[in-house]
């Protein structure tokens, strides 16, 4: 694997390999010395041209646990804020000998543009591009679901038959897109629920079911209920009338939480708007996987960096 740009073009076998490696990485994170020498002497650049402290820190911890040298390059205060182009930034990183570039960019497709450009030879990891994809988030979500369902017996398993309902602003969500492709490739049945304004025109061709009614979705007792972050500024563009109505129709309220069976996982990619798309009780309930997701994020990102930058043990 040269780059990780999207889950849409990630075959099931490849995804399973990453998830299984992440299990090994999780074992390392449980040790007293949480460090492997695998990427010693390699340089990973976190090129974050859109602010995201959480994802950047997760990648930074992952790279450091693999003993890589990590350079953080963020938009604020850098040459990028002085108008430097993606091309010039990429060529600069190339000249400095970056082996891997983890890129977060506000424009959909920027990682793909970088990978196809010839400006840089480093492996590219998409850490979230515009409203396109966020593949490591989907991988950590799949990893989290698998671990909750199968525990120590997770290795090698897909998510066949698992029911996942993704709720909210799918239109603007790179997390939702990456999860649609990855979870369905792993065999899950995915349903999208939200107001029609926030479900993309053209999503009818996706391998998912689409609905508007969260109560109906809750009544079907899905294995996983994934709440997406909704940005309140969407109100101004007439996607929905207001926070109260959104929360009433598509929020995971205490009442809806009480109707879910205890086996249903409640997921959220963070950061959460408590009281808007998810109630405080739901966020803090035993059903919530939010903190597991954060912890698993490090393991999954270690696995991704390992597959991209370390020599493949099987010589593939």
């Amino acid at each position: 694997m040269k780059h990780l740009l999207s889950t849409e073009d990630l075959p099931r076998e490849e995804a399973l390999r990453i998830l299984d490696t992440a299990e090994d990485m999780a074992d390392v994170s449980g040790r007293e010395v949480k460090k492997l020498p695998t990427l010693r002497g390699r340089t990973v650049v976190n090129l974050f041209l859109e602010d995201s402290t959480r994802t950047r820190i997760s990648f930074e911890v992952a790279a450091k646990r693999l003993s890589a040298d990590v350079i953080n390059f963020s938009a604020k205060g850098s040459s990028v804020s002085k108008g430097e182009s993606l091309k010039d930034t990429a060529q600069t990183l190339e000249a400095m000998g970056a082996d891997g570039v983890v890129i977060r960019h506000g424009a959909s497709g920027a990682p793909q543009t970088l990978a196809a450009s010839g400006w840089i030879t480093a492996g590219i990891v998409n850490a979230g591009d515009g409203t396109h994809e966020h593949p490591t988030q989907a991988l950590l979500d799949a990893f989290t679901i698998r671990r909750r369902l199968h525990g120590a017996a997770s290795r090698g398993r897909g998510l066949d038959g698992v029911g996942v309902t993704i709720v909210g602003d799918v239109l603007h969500s790179r997390v939702a897109r990456s999860n649609v492709w990855l979870l369905t490739a792993l065999g899950a049945r995915v349903r999208l629920v939200g107001p029609a304004t926030l479900l993309p025109v053209g999503a009818a061709s996706w391998p998912v079911e689409i609905g508007y009614d969260l109560d109906a979705a809750v009544a079907e007792a899905p294995d996983v209920l994934m709440m997406l972050r909704v940005q309140s500024e969407r109100m101004r563009d007439a996607f929905f009338p207001g926070e109260r109505e959104y929360s009433r129709e598509w929020g995971l309220t205490d009442e809806r939480l009480s109707k879910l069976p205890p086996t249903t996982m409640v997921m959220h990619p963070g950061p959460m708007n408590r009281g808007l798309e998810i109630s405080a009780a739901a966020a803090d309930s035993p059903a919530s996987t939010v903190l597991e997701q954060v912890a698993n994020g490090v393991s999954v990102r270690m696995a991704v960096l390992y597959h991209l930058l370390a020599a493949d043990p099987r010589g593939e």
Binding site: S85, L86, K87, H105, G109, T113, A116, G202
Partner: protein, 440 residues
């Protein structure tokens, strides 16, 4: 005196042609010792006329100039281009349009007819000095805010009426700005997948529907720029059946390429209006074949490399198209049997000249008519490359693609601008230019 022997005319017949003093003359009158071009196997087309070109000068000379843009035009078989108004300063006064026209005359590669802005600064707020531009030496007859839509319905109504006063036409860039805020590509399956903000077909179709009704109400002519959707073709077909005086253009790229090209986020395929679905391409081809779409116009839109070598959302809209237009129409229309060469002459020369009020293109090849001519080898085929581009910018979507045909000779008012497939040098063309050529 020049003789051209054995050319195939657009109607399929073979004929000799002769040119003297910038005009076609009776070939029988040509002296035997006249210089001769053997045009066996070549199609003689009337010089092509582009109703929609961005020459970028004044203001954006790093992208194109009147000289380089008309060189690109000549390389594509064009002898006249209508230069869009979105220059800097905008072509919204007599002074600017006269400057652009004069630059064209000086270069000599093609007749340059400036298009005047409809509104001051293309801002859509108040009418530009349409009368002054019409009365200027540039004799502007086409008015457009292209790049921006005249979206205010009252202003559009007034513009349609006011332009009528000067025998002109408004060329509308049909795009509802509110429905396309931040839009990056056609809204549909591909945009949903790529996470790019959608440019819905309805944003084009609703403006066209409104404008044809306004044109009907005030009895004005309307020209619709770069029609790109099947629904828009339907609306125009309906308007024509109703007797509304509307004409419409399609670009070569909308006749050949689809939104699927966006999948790799290669910004060379970012254009406004965006590439659409294959159903739209089929509808545009059918509309051009049955006359619903009157003409092909390039929307030649040069941009420097840095405006395309970036993330899709940060890239400029537009593609260069003058050099490739005829080959693309050949591939999209002629090869599929939808249009014959007579049809090509109609949609790429005679009708655009008529819509734009450009004289000299009504009776191609007739003795006495200005010698605007392109000789085209339809049997040729080539991988389109940087060497085929003669303008200043290289943002062509066809690089690396095999396209049919080749321009062999071009004459602009009898002056060779392309000879044996090569552009003639600027000094030679400028020296031979016909100073008397002032648009009627």
């Amino acid at each position: 005196m020049l003789r051209i022997t054995g050319a195939t005319l657009p109607d399929g017949t073979r004929a000799d042609l002769a040119i003297e003093d910038g005009r076609f003359v009776e070939p029988a009158d040509a002296p035997r010792r006249a210089r001769t071009i053997d045009a066996a196997g070549l199609i003689a087309l009337p010089g092509l006329v582009d109703l929609h070109t961005h020459l970028r000068e004044p203001g954006f000379e790093q992208s194109e100039t009147v000289l380089t843009g008309t060189q690109a035009a000549a390389a594509g078989g064009y002898t006249a281009v209508f230069a869009m108004a979105n220059t800097q300063p905008v072509q919204d006064t007599a002074g600017v349009v006269e400057q652009v026209q004069a630059l064209g005359l000086r270069a000599g590669y093609a007749t340059v007819r400036p298009i005047g802005a409809v509104t001051v600064g293309l801002k859509g707020e108040r009418l530009a000095e349409i009368g002054a531009m019409a009365a200027s030496r540039a004799q502007v007859r086409v008015f457009s805010d292209d790049g921006m839509c005249v979206s205010d319905p009252l202003l559009m109504r007034r513009a349609l009426e006011y332009v009528t006063t000067f025998g002109g036409v408004v060329a509308q860039h049909a795009q509802d700005p509110r429905l396309t805020a931040g839009a990056q590509m056609n809204e549909g399956e591909v945009s949903a997948r790529l996470g790019l903000a959608g440019w819905p077909a309805v944003a084009e179709e609703s403006i066209i529907a409104r404008d044809v009704l306004l044109a009907e109400h005030v009895g004005a002519r309307l020209h619709v720029c770069h029609v790109s959707t099947a629904g828009a073709v339907e609306v125009i077909r309906w308007a024509k059946a109703r007797g509304i005086r509307v004409t419409a253009e399609a670009t070569p790229h909308h006749l050949l390429l689809t939104e699927a090209e966006a999948a790799g986020y290669d910004a060379r395929f970012k254009v406004n209006p965006p590439l659409r679905r294959s159903e739209d391409v089929e509808a545009l081809r059918a509309g051009l074949a049955d006359g619903t779409i009157d003409i092909v116009a390039t929307d030649h839109a040069p941009h420097p490399a840095e405006a395309k070598e970036c993330a899709w959302a940060e890239a400029a809209n537009g593609m260069v198209g003058l050099e490739s237009a005829l080959s693309v129409v050949h591939a999209a229309m002629v090869d599929g049997g939808l249009l014959d060469w007579g049809g090509v002459a109609r949609v790429m020369s005679r009708t655009p000249a008529r819509i734009g009020g450009l004289r000299g293109y009504g009776a191609a090849f007739e003795p006495g008519a200005p010698a605007h001519l392109a000789l085209y080898d339809p049997a040729a085929s080539r991988e389109f490359g940087l060497g085929d581009l003669r303008g200043r910018s290289a943002n062509s979507p066809y690089l690396g693609r095999t396209l049919p045909g080749r321009i062999v000779h071009v004459f602009h008012r009898g002056v060779p601008t392309v000879a044996d497939g090569a552009l003639r040098p600027a000094d030679e063309v400028a020296a031979a230019r016909r100073l008397e050529e002032v648009p009627a």
